[in-house]
Amino acid sequence: MTTPAPITTTTASSSPHVDPAIFSSLQTKIDEEQAIRDELRTHVDVLSKQGRLTQSILSRIHNTPTDQLEANVLTPCYDALSEQTKTVKELAESASKYPFYKWNSIWQRDIQTLISSMQLCDWLKSGNLLTLEEVGQRLNVPVNLKSEDAFHITVEDYLLALTSTIEELARLAPNAVTLGDYARPLQISKFIKDVHAGFQLLNLKNDILRRRADGVKYSVKKVEDVVYDLSLRGLIPKNNETG
């Protein structure tokens, strides 16, 4: 009986068909990415740590009477924000060496938290919404870059941050009443409604921004309920007209 001869095999590494250089250069590319990630991580970790401090300062708005806000919350908050701004500068310098969208998921969350802190702080100080351009100016980084590949603040970052800011303000409305400030809910209500009207203009796809923007209407309702409770009981200050 004839059977085929056993397949002649040699040690696999001697195959001329699979060039080992393919895999050594792949490994090099992977290792280079790891090094980039580590570099960016160090900045983001600092930013994240500083961000937690900023957030903890800002969370005092819920139990700080409005007349003490400036001294007890806003001033320390701006100090904390300026520390974060320094870190953003370092991060931006590092990150601008690499393709922005390849790496931006590393810092997205912390940058959005930072923008939200800035928006909240500014609104509490002036009642105005910090614009995307102003965010860029304060952080000293470009915004909404469309061709140049460098670190910047995106429209999505700004809008996602804004949804968090709205949620925080909606939480503040009842807490302000608890602290005796009956005018605050009206002011918040007007602002949230204006922002909500803005969000309604957007054609959102089924993504994170849509889910977060959908949440804005619950904030509108939450604050409206507070305003309703106040107006029902005649607790709305006279010199304030409703939004």
């Binding site: 699979v18 393919i22 895999f23 992977i30 390849k102 061709s147 203009l201």
Partner: protein, 273 residues
């Protein structure tokens, strides 16, 4: 305020002029800036949708090419005319499709839509690496693979590696069919030191040796893909074993028994069509 009419989701309903924009929109100071955001987001979504569509179409064409290539009966030769005639237009379709999104993937946007295009590129990689192996019996290098994309599109090593993984499944299918038809292993003629099995084994050990911990793009799919690749190679190993042991006993139309061991479930995970 108290008597405001509300719809089910708690929003104010503007009774008198339901056709026109709600009043808050007319008065909101943020309308202009949000109109700007809208146009920015629309541009982004449109671009993304174009890319997703191209990715799907490239995937479909690549699958057809792979399917046609499975009818190739020789290794290390140019693709036979009948099959070549079929796949050449598919290749040009893919090139044309990719060409249409080159402007969408320039500059800062090169990586922005990575997740949207990666499926198509991986499948295309699978097709070109498979075709290259069939004609040359060599594994296409990353540089050669990158040159398959139209100018202006960058190949990521992730897409290359993931395409390479899938190619091992095609090599398995090709090897099994070849053995069933010819009674020997492809690439083993002419006193050649290596054959498709040794190539696959080497490919497997090289892939296993990669440390992908540092790659976010790879670490997600890597282990799943590696399991499938291992299963593919074992199928060929078992096929070769049974071919040698049973040799000429095999009746006409016999196919190598690839499920020698009590089939690990992974064996079923090889993508089929």
């Amino acid at each position: 305020m108290a008597g405001t009419k509300r719809s089910h989701d708690g929003m104010e309903v503007n009774r008198p002029s339901s056709k026109s924009e709600p009043t808050s929109e007319q008065t909101s100071p943020f309308i202009p800036v949000f109109e700007f955001f809208r146009s920015e987001l629309d541009e982004h979504h449109d671009r993304r949708e174009r890319i997703i569509k191209v990715s799907r179409d490239v995937t479909a064409q690549s699958k057809k090419i792979i399917f046609a290539l499975q009818r190739v009966r020789e290794l290390g030769r140019p693709i036979q005319a009948s099959i070549s005639k079929q796949i050449t237009p598919m290749h040009s379709t893919i090139q044309d499709l990719l060409q249409t999104i080159v402007p969408d993937l320039q500059g800062i946007n090169a990586y922005r839509y990575r997740n949207n295009i990666t499926g198509g590129i991986q499948e295309f990689m699978e097709a070109v690496i498979f075709q290259h192996y069939l004609t040359t019996q060599r594994v296409m290098t990353f540089e050669e693979a990158a040159a398959q994309l139209p100018e202006g599109l960058t190949l990521t090593y992730e897409d290359y590696v993931l395409g390479l993984f899938d190619t091992t499944g095609e090599l398995m299918r090709f090897a099994i069919t070849y053995m069933a038809t010819n009674g020997r292993l492809p690439g083993s003629e002419m006193g050649s030191k290596s054959n498709i099995l040794t190539d696959m084994q080497l490919l497997r050990s090289e892939l296993e040796a990669l440390d992908v911990g540092g790659s976010y793009g790879l670490s997600k799919d890597f282990w799943q893909k590696l399991r499938t690749t291992r299963a593919s190679i074992e199928k060929v190993e078992n096929g070769v074993y049974s071919m040698i042991v049973r040799g000429k006993e095999r009746p006409k139309g016999w196919r190598p028994d690839v499920s020698l061991t009590d089939g690990p479930r992974e064996a079923d995970q090889v993508e089929s069509y």
